[in-house]
């Protein structure tokens, strides 16, 4: 094909390869599992300029040949202003794949074929992957793949993406199709085609083929009212297009673009009816009781139960696993690293500083990462894979709307009470940039389990439960105010919700693990180096005895404004690394300050001090890993704004509480 490959001018590039295939499909038809099965794990993620949807590209080797693969965003159609549709269309027209693999779902064939027809209409070579073949069989649905292939004029390959079945056959079919002339779409109703014919002819005569598209494709795009296309063709063709649109409108009594969509759905439905047979003895599917997840009387208690379970799991199972990991690390990794570092750097300050970074730093990162974050991704993946997340979003949509969010944002917010990092990553699936920004900012202000542990350890243990509730209450009111302020100051409003609800699906272990690993990598490679670097700096300060010097300029704030002893200021700084360390460090430093072992925190801090300390530690500065992930997702400016706001809020609230509590009679 002689299509000019315009450089998109952004990050997303056509992958290298003997042929390039794009994978298109509706959301949740298993498009990404097919992509993963083809490419393995050598995957790049890129953004289109001006959009926020990530597009994965990758390469694979199949029998001595290289295949470049583009995973388009999951979308129901290619026209319209919905971001997924727009990015998919742009990527197709700019990157010009040799073959487009359209993934369809036999259970929902008619609706998923709509996209296949749109891709065919654009003049691409198509291979149809009929995915979820196993599930279709279970649902008592038989697909006549040959019949479908004959009707569409393109190869049809049954696949089970999760098991990798048929994926090889898809790649082979793509190689075979790559050299051929693209098949034209089967054609719509005779009335419609007759009305469109003058435009097709005009396009052919004018020789205008923007982007190398065939005349029929250009004509259909013009009928759809595609402005980009209209700007690329002759004025004469545009005027024919107006006449044709007008003729279609008066013939069918509805707008040409709607008529075309109706024709496509009609054709997809006819084909679907012809090639799908539903065997009578359709088994009673779990989708019947699945309705309980959306029926308010059962759905709301269930949602509370699931949210509680996820939270408890992160809090208790995470803490348990972290303990196990720590013990294993101390027993196995730590001595090894220590001996290597000491062999290289000797037994002095230098090696102790290096150990801060390489031993304690890596341990800090992994002991959050493996037990909390990886575990959370697996739990989240299971909930998503069964389709439960959509039910949850359906039930909570109303409340989340008040915060300028979407029902699905409930997941990151609940997760944030466990650990901020996976919660931040989980904001990635929210539909608009505004919602992602609001949700990730709110996550930064939700006390994670480590910060909750400090509240419980310092205030709950030494001061009393009433004051624990006070601290939690203050933090909650602050959080809600931030939510309402953000909702007001960020322009735009949350999108109206239209979300497909999936019936219950048996979760696939492979799919869940692949996804969890994919998300976990981001944490591993972004946060770990930053935590290690931060640890080295703190280690350098600590081992050289400079930490007190660093905290001296802070004395007016820590001592003067908050009324805390100097050691508390030091531990707050250290808490940046890992919030739960703040309390342990405070105990250690209390001992060294008081000068005798067995010294208690209460020897150096009053109950008011402890409340203020817990508040400031909870509100100020989320840990460095969370800041690193937030930075990567939202840019430096917003990160500075959030970090700055959290410090100001913490100091303001801390200072006020430090003055009010003594008036109420607390020491």
């Amino acid at each position: 094909m002689s299509r000019s490959c315009d450089e998109p001018g952004g990050v997303l590039k056509r992958p290298e390869g003997d042929i390039v295939i794009a994978i298109a499909g509706n959301p949740n038809v298993g498009k990404s599992t097919i992509f993963n099965a083809i490419t393995g794990l050598g995957v790049m993620t890129a953004h289109y300029p001006g959009t926020t949807r990530a597009v994965h590209t990758g390469t694979a080797r199949a029998a001595e040949r290289i295949v470049g693969v583009i995973d388009l965003p999951g979308t129901y159609g290619l026209s319209g202003n919905d971001e997924d549709a727009r990015v998919a269309r742009l990527a197709l027209l700019d990157l010009v794949p040799d073959v487009v693999v359209v993934v369809v779902d036999p259970v929902n064939l008619a609706r998923t074929l709509y996209l296949a027809l749109e891709v065919l209409d654009l003049g691409f070579r198509v291979v149809v992957a009929a995915n979820l073949a196993d599930e279709a069989r279970r649902a008592g649905i038989a697909l006549d793949a040959e019949g479908l292939s004959a009707r569409l004029g393109v190869p049809v390959v049954p696949t089970v993406g999760t098991a990798g079945t048929g994926v090889r056959a898809v790649v082979d079919a793509a190689f075979e199709a790559a050299g051929t002339t693209p098949t034209r779409s089967p054609g719509y109703g005779p009335d419609f085609e007759a009305l469109a014919e003058p435009l097709v002819r005009a396009c052919r005569d004018a020789g205008c083929t923007p982007g190398g598209l065939p005349p029929h494709a250009v004509a259909l795009a013009l009928i759809e009212g595609d402005d980009v296309m209209a700007a690329q063709v002759d004025a004469q063709v545009v005027s024919v297009a107006s006449r044709v649109r007008s003729a279609i409108r008066s013939h069918f009594g509805e707008d040409a673009s709607v008529r075309l969509a109706r024709e496509r759905h009609g054709l997809a439905g006819t084909i679907g009816d012809a090639v799908v047979t539903r065997t009578g003895e359709k088994r009673r599917l779990p989708r019947d009781w699945w309705a309980l997840t959306t029926w308010p009387w059962t759905g709301v208690p269930l949602a509370a139960l699931v949210a509680g379970a996820v939270f408890a799991f992160l809090f208790f199972a995470g803490a348990f696993l972290a303990g196990v990991f720590s013990a294993v690390w101390q027993a196995l990794a730590s001595p090894g690293i220590t001996s290597v570092v000491e062999a290289v750097a000797g037994d002095g300050v230098l090696s102790r500083v290096l150990l801060w970074g390489l031993d304690a730093g890596i341990e800090a990162s992994l002991s959050v990462g493996l037990p909390y974050i990886l575990v959370f991704y697996v739990v989240l993946g299971l909930l998503e894979d069964t389709g439960y997340l959509n039910s949850l979003a359906f039930l909570t949509d109303r409340f989340m709307h008040r915060l300028g969010l979407h029902g699905r944002a409930i997941i990151p917010l609940v997760a944030g009470a466990g650990c901020s990092v996976p919660a931040l990553v989980a904001t990635g699936f929210l539909p608009t940039k505004r919602e992602r920004l609001i949700a990730s900012t709110l996550v930064m202000f939700i006390p994670c389990s480590a910060r909750t542990a400090v509240i419980l350890g310092a205030v709950g243990h030494y001061v009393g439960w009433q004051y624990t509730l006070l601290v939690v209450g203050i933090v909650f009111v602050m959080w809600l105010s931030i939510a309402l302020v953000l909702q007001r100051i960020l322009p735009g409003e949350s999108h109206g919700l239209v979300m497909e609800m999936f019936p219950f699906r048996r979760p696939s272990f492979r799919r869940v693990m692949a996804k969890a690993w994919d998300q976990f990598r981001e944490f591993l490679f972004v946060a770990t180096p930053i935590v290690v670097a931060g640890s080295l700096v703190l280690g350098g300060l600590y081992e050289n005895g400079w930490l007190m010097n660093v905290s001296r300029p802070l004395e007016p704030v820590i001592g003067g404004w908050l009324g805390l002893p100097a050691v508390a200021g030091v531990t707050l700084l250290m808490g940046m690394l890992r919030n739960e360390l703040a309390l342990q460090l405070l105990v250690v430093l209390a001992v060294s300050t008081a000068g005798y072992a067995g010294a208690n925190i209460t020897d150096i801090m009053s109950p008011t001090d402890l409340v203020v300390f817990a508040l400031v530690n909870t509100i100020a500065l989320p840990c460095i890993s969370a800041v690193a992930v937030f930075w990567r997702r939202n840019g430096l400016k917003r990160t500075l704004a959030v970090v700055g706001a959290s410090i100001v809020l913490a100091l303001t609230i801390g200072g006020i509480v430090a003055r009010v509590l003594p008036l109420l009679g607390l020491e």
Partner: protein, 229 residues
């Protein structure tokens, strides 16, 4: 004749009033201006006797309603002209018609009507008021007024920008498509709607823009409180 700005306000008030009580805050949202601006403009409208302010709300007077219908008539005729005669797409004509509507004299309106064979509705399916200021009753009720278990058929999609329309059509929801409400989330939450073999969660804002006609089984019609915002 009121200025262009005042005409835009009258039009917006009329459309909001079709869906329930009008508050200055709604107007500020719809017009994209600040609350003080709305208050000032409402003052001007009131001084001309076009609106009343019962209990801080906004209501058109008889002459205000006539003026509003006049501008709506011109807007919808202009849209019709842009789509039918010039062949523009219906999702782009709303903004164009906003420009054009202010320039149509009664003489031109009449000529347009004759030329286009007296259209009764605009391209989005809304009725076009007559020259004497009569307007056909809007048929149907918003999807969000259905209770769970009720079935209906889509009548039209009240979306001037066309974005929602093209998105819904990619899901197979057109005027004429049968839909069934399976579940309604608590606290005026979204609706779970069955279309063909698929189910969708449809937010109340969106469901308020989908006008439906109840079909098939007789269904009780719930009293509307307020309306979709």
């Amino acid at each position: 004749m009121p200025s262009e700005t005042l005409e835009e306000y009258l039009e917006a008030i009329y459309k909001l009033a079709e869906r329930g009580e009008v508050r200055p805050g709604h107007l500020a949202e719809v017009m994209g201006v600040s609350a003080p601006t709305v208050t000032a403009t409402l003052g001007r409208l009131k001084a001309r006797g076009l609106i009343e302010r019962p209990d801080g709300g906004v209501a058109l007077t008889l002459s205000g309603r006539q003026a509003a219908l006049d501008i709506i008539r011109r807007h919808r005729l202009a849209e019709r002209f842009l789509v039918d005669v010039l062949g523009l797409s219906w999702d782009e004509v709303h903004a164009e018609a906003c420009q054009l509507e202010h320039a149509l004299s009664p003489r031109v309106q009449e000529a347009l009507e004759t030329f286009m064979d007296n259209p009764s509705v605009c391209p989005h399916g809304h009725p076009i008021p007559s020259a004497s200021g009569e307007i056909a009753e809007r048929r149907g009720l918003p999807l969000c007024d259905l209770a769970s278990g009720e079935s209906a058929r889509i009548l039209r999609i009240d979306d001037e920008s066309g974005e929602l329309l093209s998105y819904l059509s990619s899901l197979g929801m057109f005027p004429g498509t049968p839909v069934k409400v399976c579940e309604v989330a608590p606290f005026k939450g979204p609706l779970l709607v069955e279309v063909g073999d698929s189910k969708y969660a449809v937010g109340r804002e969106v469901a308020g823009k989908i006008a439906v006609e109840q079909g098939g089984m007789p269904a009780r019609r719930r009293k509307r409180v307020g309306g979709p915002r």
